[in-house]
């Protein structure tokens, strides 16, 4: 039993909602994307394209909101604490994580027995989350190269010519989708392999007791396991 406590401060409700939006949009985009690539379900091509484009805009707006909110909404920078600071700090280098990349990789490769200390996001996790917005922009860009209403804009024509035509843009768009599929697999796996508490937090905003971590001393300072504690603090 070595979890840090999961408090709502780590994932404010607004980010629980953006996470839901991301999940729904990504699943719909991947599903409709496969249908558009090859219509293995007949009869739904028009709907699939409509949903695909709609979800693309929703996820882009959601991304913009998520990035802007990171600068205004406060969240806990580490697990096991209710202290908050600007959410964007969790996506930048943090003291708690410094020099820990090697430790995390070793831990996941079973070369290290004990769990690395870190901030809310482990180092590989943080790098991945930083890459996701960029990947989203890339896949959206290639999508706009393919979508007829935007495909003739000079910016998109330039990229299409650069990579040698629409066929190659389609393949890039398709491969990027697989990057997201593999990300979703990895993300769901790592979030749930050490217990379902993180899922309960992210989907149902349910707290979970556990070790207490101090962002000041950058180490574990105790354990929160009482009902009465919970009432007192929230």
């Amino acid at each position: 039993m070595a979890h840090l406590a999961h408090y709502r401060q780590a994932h404010p409700i607004t980010f629980v909602i953006t996470h839901w939006v991301n999940l729904i949009c990504m699943v719909m985009l991947v599903l409709t994307g496969f249908i558009i690539h090859y219509p293995f379900i007949p009869g739904v091509m028009g709907a699939a394209r409509g949903v695909h484009i709609c979800c693309a805009f929703v996820i882009l707006l959601n991304l913009i909101y998520r990035i802007v909110a990171a600068f205004f909404v406060k969240s806990a920078p580490t697990g096991g604490t209710r202290e908050v600071e600007k959410d964007i700090k969790s996506f930048l280098p943090q003291k708690d994580n410094r020099h820990q990349l090697g430790a995390w990789i070793k831990y996941y490769l079973f070369l290290k027995k004990d769990h690395p200390l870190g901030a809310k996001y482990g180092v590989p996790q943080k790098l991945t989350y930083d890459a996701i917005p960029l990947l989203l922009l890339c896949i959206a860009f290639t999508g706009f190269c393919l979508w007829v209403p935007t495909s003739n804009a000079p910016l998109f024509v330039g990229f299409t010519d650069l990579v040698g035509g629409i066929m190659n843009v389609r393949i890039i768009h398709y491969f990027l989708m697989w990057v997201f599929i593999i990300f979703i697999m990895l993300h769901a796996y790592l979030a749930s392999i050490e217990g379902l508490a993180p899922l309960r937090m992210m989907f149902r905003w349910k707290e979970h007791k556990g070790l207490v971590y101090s962002p000041e001393s950058h180490t574990i300072v105790g354990e929160d396991k009482g009902e009465e504690d919970n009432k007192e603090k929230s």
């Binding site: 007949p42 202290e83 330039g158 010519d161 035509g165 389609r170 697999m185 962002p215 001393s217 180490t219």
Partner: protein
């Protein structure tokens, strides 16, 4: 004055002599107007322009044309010979003076080569190039009249008014540039660009620019497009609107898919999955059969082929994207980019391996899934699935660098019951410290 050049008489005499009625001539003007993307209201203008600027002159020179046939199947010439309105005789005899064409010229051999030479010397001519230029074996892959094709092209283009690349081969090498391209097929635009950069080609009076190049891809070049472009150059005296690849933008700005007569079936999700099926009989969309209409820009569904009788998709075959071309390189020729024709994706060429992108992606995804499952067994075996492993007491780096460590090992490790989360007031105070801390941390 070039001896071989045709002269013109008055319009009426000319039409009469050719047995063309006035009504037929107006139809021709209408076809031109439509091909140029003009409204039908402008037919009289086109009529006037032709009468004034080309035919109406009492006497005078017609624009000479040199039609070079490089490595080609003569399909573009054949296709051109099938053009309906104006028929090929009209174009050849009334609008232009075709001074050199291997297939259509009556003359042959030395005299024809001399006619070409005289035309080039006089200047002011159009060059139409059909077929790919071959650079293999030091340019000897293509020799005409005992001369290398590379030299012929440079010579003919150096003094031309404009160069029209007819068909995908002349645009970017076409299917002849398909992997592995042993003959060294190349499109005219990238050849001239490279030769000019290397200093071995200069366009006379071009101030360092290439001659105007109009790329008219498709395999073969659609005769209606060819007539429209030639007439555009002759009538308006300037190039048609060209896109970033020097293709006439009126013709090559919309996808075949956009104007396809089977588009309704696409939107309804009604597809042909197999030839010989009920769906095929019903004329459903050929998307699932690998139709390249959604990524090929051309106006085939509107202009159609063979005197506007039909075209590929209307005849029941998926589009194979023969108009896809990229004058900047031979790598994106339509065969390499679209084969296999009945699949939704092209093949990826990795060395000598050919495979479908979907196969590659699914294989990588499958490997990732297998690795995760294997990893999960590892996690289970090491007892980490119930809350993970116990936390380390101190970061290893901190242990090795005590002077620069961010945290020392706590006196009490995880599992102890000591509460240190603080009251709200204490938390706020600590928060301030933590901010200061992290600022310092950020500068390191």
């Amino acid at each position: 004055m070039v001896e071989t050049q045709a002269n013109v008489a008055r319009l009426d005499e000319l039409l009469e002599r050719k047995g063309v009625t006035r009504r037929r001539f107006l139809e021709f003007c209408g076809a031109i107007a439509v091909s140029l993307g003009l409204s039908e209201a402008l037919i009289p203008t086109v009529h006037e322009a032709i009468a004034e600027s080309v035919i109406g002159k009492e006497t005078g020179a017609l624009t000479p044309v040199i039609w070079l046939e490089l490595a080609s199947c003569t399909g573009c010439t054949e296709s051109f010979a099938q053009v309906d309105t104006p028929d090929v005789a009209t174009v050849v005899l009334e609008l232009i003076s075709l001074n050199y064409s291997e297939t259509l010229s009556a003359g042959a051999g030395f005299s024809l080569e001399e006619a070409k030479e005289q035309t080039i010397e006089a200047g002011g001519y159009l060059v139409v190039i059909e077929g790919a230029l071959m650079e293999g074996w030091d340019g000897n892959a293509l020799r005409i009249a005992n001369e290398k094709g590379t030299e012929i092209v440079k010579h003919a283009c150096a003094n031309a008014k404009a160069v029209i690349c007819a068909g995908s081969c002349a645009v970017d090498g076409g299917w002849q540039a398909g992997y592995p391209n042993p003959g060294g097929a190349i499109g005219i635009q990238s050849f001239l660009t490279r030769e000019q950069a290397a200093g071995s080609f200069t366009y006379k009076g071009g101030d360092g620019n290439l001659p105007p190049i109009i790329n008219v891809p498709t395999c073969p070049a659609n005769p209606e497009h060819m007539v429209a472009v030639i007439v555009d150059v002759l009538l308006v005296g300037k190039l048609p609107d060209l896109n970033s690849q020097n293709k006439p933008s009126l013709i090559f700005s919309q996808y075949i898919h956009d104007n396809c007569p089977r588009r309704g079936h696409f939107e309804n999700g009604e597809f042909v999955y197999q030839f010989g099926s009920e769906e095929e009989k019903k004329g459903y969309c050929l998307y699932a059969m690998g139709c390249k209409g959604p990524q090929t820009k051309n106006n085939c569904p509107i202009v159609r082929w063979n005197r506007r009788v039909s075209w590929c998709v209307e005849a029941g075959a998926p589009c194979i994207g023969c108009a896809v071309s990229d004058p900047a390189t031979t790598k994106n020729n339509w065969v390499d980019l679209n084969a296999p024709f009945l699949k939704r994706f092209r093949n990826l060429n990795i060395g000598d391996i050919r495979l479908q992108p979907a196969t590659l992606a699914a294989a990588v995804g499958g490997i990732a899934a297998v690795l995760l499952v294997a990893h999960a067994f590892g996690m289970k075996a090491t007892g980490r699935t119930k809350g993970g492993a116990d936390f380390e007491r101190q970061r290893k780096w901190d242990m090795q660098h005590p002077d620069r460590a961010i945290a020392s090992a706590p006196a009490v490790t995880g599992g102890a019951s000591e509460e240190d989360n603080g009251t709200p007031a204490a938390t706020a105070a600590e928060n301030e410290e933590s901010k200061a801390d992290s600022k310092e941390g950020g500068t390191q």
